[in-house]
C-alpha cells in the first residue's frame, strides 16, 4: 500500500507516467527481442534449459511482503541462476500500472502476480494468452490454468472464530456468522477500497438460505441486504496485515479472513479457529501483460514456477497452498491443516463460478464499494 499523502496525486500521475514512458520508449529504445532458444521436446514444469536466457533481464512483480520474498527465494531467483536471466523484482501489483504499461506499449513487468478473478476478466485486453507449448500445466489443479493465467498459489476466504468467546459453542458455518444472538460480538470482514472478490457475498447468500449450487449468478443486492442485518456488528479490514492484527488483538470474535492470515495469527498465539465447512477457495494468478518484451522468457519463468519442487518450497516458505497436485510440502501439523488443496479440504469448499466473477467483478465492486461507504 501507499505511504504518502501525495499518493493520490501519484496515482493520477500514472496516466502521465504512461505518456512519459512512451516518450522514453521512443528514445531509449528497447531494441529487438533477443533470440531465445528454450530447447526441443515437450515442456516439463519446473525446468528450464540452462543459460537459455543469458541476455535477458526480467522483472517479476507480486504483492510484496513475506509471500513475495518466498516467491523470489524459492522460485524466481533460482530460475534466474539456472537460466542466466538477470532477475529484478517490483511490487506491489497495481492494475493501474499494468494498464499504463500496456497502453504506453512499454511493458517492464514480465510476469505479474494478480488476483485470478481480475486476470480472467482482463484476458485478451491487458493480458496476453499463455503459450502452453512452453508451459506444462498438466499438474495444475483442475480448472485453474486458463487462457491467460496459471495459478500462483491457492488460499481461501475462511470464517474464523475466537475459541474462548462462546463458552464451548462452536460456529458451524455461514449462518452462525449472522447469528448475533447465539454468537454475540463484533465480526470482521474485508472492506477495502477498489476490490470485491469471492467470499463474503457467497457467505451471505448461503446464510440467507441459498443452496451452494444455486449461488450463481450472485444476487448481490440480496447478499448486501443480508449483510445489512449485521452491519452494526461488522468492522472492516483493508489489508491482510490489519485482519491478522484484529485476530491477534482479540478485537473481534469472528472474522472472514484469508487463510494465510488466519494461519499467521494462530501461529502468533491468536485463539482463533477456522470453520472449513463451506469455505471459499481463492487463487492468485500469474499473468503476462500484452506487449511484454520477450514473451518466451515470461512463459519459461511461469513453466519453472509450476514445478513440484518449487511448489513444495513455496508452501514451506510462505504457508500458502501449492498448485501442483502431487506437491507434498514438509510442514508442521498446524500449517498442514491450512493447506486448502488437499482432497479433504477440497470436499469442504464451495464451488466458485470464476467465469461469472470475471464478467461481473466491476459491477460488484461498484455496488460493494457504495454499500461500504454509505
Amino acid at each position: 500500500m501507499s505511504r504518502l499523502p501525495s499518493t493520490i496525486r501519484r496515482r493520477l500521475g500514472l496516466a502521465a507516467l504512461a505518456a512519459g514512458a512512451l516518450a522514453l520508449g521512443g528514445c531509449a529504445g528497447q531494441g529487438p527481442p533477443p533470440n531465445i532458444d528454450l530447447g526441443a521436446g515437450p515442456a516439463r514444469a519446473g525446468t528450464v534449459k540452462p543459460d537459455a536466457l543469458k541476455d535477458v533481464a526480467m522483472t517479476f512483480t507480486s504483492y510484496g511482503g513475506a509471500f513475495q520474498t518466498g516467491q523470489m527465494q524459492g522460485i524466481v531467483k533460482p530460475f534466474g541462476k539456472l537460466s542466466g536471466a538477470r532477475i529484478l523484482e517490483d511490487g506491489p501489483t497495481e492494475y493501474a500500472k499494468i494498464r499504463a504499461q500496456v497502453e504506453a506499449d512499454f511493458v517492464t513487468w514480465d510476469v505479474v502476480d494478480t488476483d485470478a478473478v481480475w486476470s480472467d476478466g482482463q484476458c485478451g485486453k491487458l493480458l496476453m494468452p499463455l503459450d502452453y507449448s512452453i508451459i506444462d500445466a498438466s499438474k495444475v489443479p483442475e480448472g485453474q490454468a486458463t487462457r491467460c493465467s496459471v495459478p500462483a498459489m491457492n488460499y481461501a476466504t475462511v470464517l474464523t472464530y475466537d475459541k474462548t468467546k462462546f463458552g464451548g459453542r462452536t460456529p458451524q458455518g455461514w449462518k452462525d456468522f449472522y447469528d448475533v444472538q447465539r454468537f454475540p460480538g463484533k465480526r470482521a470482514m474485508f472492506g477495502g477500497a477498489g476490490d470485491a472478490a469471492p467470499g463474503d457475498l457467497e457467505g451471505a447468500l448461503i446464510a440467507d438460505g441459498v443452496a451452494p449450487e444455486d449461488l450463481y449468478p450472485l444476487d448481490v443486492d440480496r447478499a448486501l441486504r443480508k449483510l445489512d442485518t449485521i452491519r452494526k456488528h461488522l468492522v472492516f479490514w483493508e489489508t491482510g496485515a490489519r485482519s491478522q492484527q484484529m485476530l491477534e488483538s482479540g478485537e473481534v470474535v469472528m472474522a472472514t479472513v484469508w487463510s494465510g492470515r488466519a494461519y499467521a495469527a494462530v501461529k502468533n498465539g491468536a485463539k482463533f479457529e477456522p470453520v472449513w465447512n463451506q469455505f471459499v477457495p481463492r487463487r492468485e494468478a500469474l499473468v503476462v501483460p500484452k506487449g511484454v518484451r520477450s514473451p518466451k522468457a515470461s512463459m519459461a519463468l511461469i513453466n519453472y514456477y509450476l514445478g513440484r519442487e518449487q511448489q513444495e518450497k513455496l508452501t514451506e516458505l510462505t504457508s500458502y497452498s501449492p498448485i501442483h497436485v502431487d506437491a507434498r510440502p514438509k510442514v508442521d501439523r498446524l500449517l498442514q491443516s491450512y493447506v486448502t488443496t488437499t482432497p479433504e479440504r477440497q470436499r469442504q469448499a464451495i464451488k466458485v463460478d470464476s467465469a461469472w466473477w470475471a464478467e461481473n467483478q466491476p459491477a460488484v465492486i461498484e455496488k460493494f464499494t457504495a454499500w461500504l461507504a454509505g
Binding site: R9, A19, A193, T239
Partner: protein, 296 residues
C-alpha cells in the same frame, strides 16, 4: 503605535541597487525547479484533466456520473469536513506549542523541536499502525481508561480516530511555520502594549495574534491541503463509512481502471480547493486590511 506590517520578510527588504541583474540570476536559479515541476507535476496534471474529459469518450460523462452518485458527493463533503476539523485541531495544538518554543532556552527548544521532528521522520505507515494499536478497542488508550473505571470508548473506526491520527501526523506542518513567524515577532511590541495599559488578553488579541497570523495561515493551508489527499490513515484508522475521496479515487483508478472518472474526481477536488483558497485568501486580506483602518 501601529501594528500593521507583518514580520519583516527577506523579500520585503529594500531593493538593492542592481535589482534587475539579481532578478535575472534568481530567475535562472528557479529554472531547474521549474523544469522539474513542469515535467512531473504540470504535465501529469494536464494529462489527468484531459483524461477527465476524454476517457472513455469525449464529454462530461465522468462529471455527470460523479454528481449523479449520492455516495460520491457524500464522501466529497465528508473529505472537506474532515480536513477542516484536522486543520482546527492542529491549530489549537500547535499554536501554544510554537509559542512555548519561542520562550524556552536553547536546550528546551532543541527538545521541543525534536519532539515534533522525530515522529515526522518516521514512516507514515508505521505511525498509522502505532495509532491502530493505541486506539483499538483492546488498545492502550482503552486499557488506561478502563484502569480508571472509564470507557471503553470507541475510537478506532470513527471520525474521531481518523482526526486524532491525521492531526498527529500533520502537526509538524502547523508547528513549523507558526514557530518561524512567532520567532520573528519583536518582543518589545508586547512590552509597549502592556506599557500603554493593555491587559495580557488585549495584548494577545491586538498585537500577538495579528502578527502571528501569517504563520497560522501558512500552516493551516498546508495541513488542510495535505488532509484532502490523505489515504492510508483514514483507511486504517477509519471505517468504510468514514472513507475519504482518495479511497474512492483509488477504487476508480486501480480497482476499476476507470481513469476518466478518477481524473474527474481529481479535477473536482482541485477546483474546489482552489476556490476555497481564493475565498479564504480574500477573507484574510480583508481582515488584514480592515484592522489598521479601524485603528486609524
Amino acid at each position: 503605535m501601529s501594528v500593521s506590517a507583518s514580520p519583516p520578510l527577506p523579500a520585503a527588504a529594500a531593493p538593492p541597487p542592481g535589482r534587475t541583474r539579481r532578478g535575472l540570476r534568481n530567475g535562472s536559479l528557479f529554472l531547474p525547479a521549474a523544469v522539474l515541476l513542469a515535467a512531473f507535476f504540470l504535465a501529469p496534471l494536464a494529462v489527468m484533466v484531459v483524461r477527465a474529459f476524454t476517457d472513455p469518450q469525449t464529454g462530461l460523462q465522468n462529471f455527470s456520473w460523479f454528481f449523479g452518485d449520492a455516495v460520491q458527493v457524500d464522501v466529497l463533503i465528508r473529505t472537506f469536513r474532515t480536513a477542516l476539523i484536522v486543520t482546527v485541531v492542529c491549530a489549537l495544538l500547535a499554536y501554544p506549542y510554537a509559542y512555548l518554543m519561542t520562550v524556552v532556552g536553547p536546550l528546551g527548544l532543541a527538545v521541543l523541536t525534536l519532539l515534533v521532528l522525530v515522529p515526522f521522520w518516521t514512516s507514515l505507515m508505521v505511525r498509522t499502525f502505532a495509532w491502530v494499536i493505541l486506539l483499538q478497542d483492546t488498545g492502550v488508550v482503552n486499557d488506561v481508561l478502563g484502569f480508571f473505571g472509564l470507557g471503553p470508548v470507541q475510537l478506532i473506526r470513527t471520525t474521531t480516530g481518523v482526526v486524532i491520527g491525521m492531526s498527529q501526523i500533520l502537526l509538524p506542518f502547523m508547528v513549523m511555520p507558526l514557530y518561524a513567524v512567532m520567532r520573528g515577532i519583536d518582543r518589545r511590541l508586547l512590552q509597549a502594549s502592556s506599557g500603554l495599559g493593555a491587559k495580557p488578553l488585549t495584548t494577545f488579541v491586538k498585537v500577538w495574534l495579528p502578527l502571528s497570523l501569517p504563520g497560522l495561515a501558512a500552516g493551516a493551508l498546508m495541513v488542510f491541503i495535505s488532509s484532502l489527499g490523505f489515504y492510508v490513515t483514514p483507511a486504517l484508522l477509519g471505517s468504510p463509512d468514514t472513507a475519504l475521496v482518495s479511497q474512492q479515487i483509488f477504487t476508480q483508478v486501480n480497482g476499476l481502471l476507470e481513469w476518466g472518472r478518477g481524473g474527474a474526481m481529481g479535477v473536482i477536488v482541485l477546483v474546489m480547493t482552489l476556490v476555497l483558497l481564493a475565498v479564504s485568501a480574500g477573507a484574510l486580506r480583508l481582515l488584514g486590511g480592515q484592522r489598521p483602518e479601524g485603528r486609524a
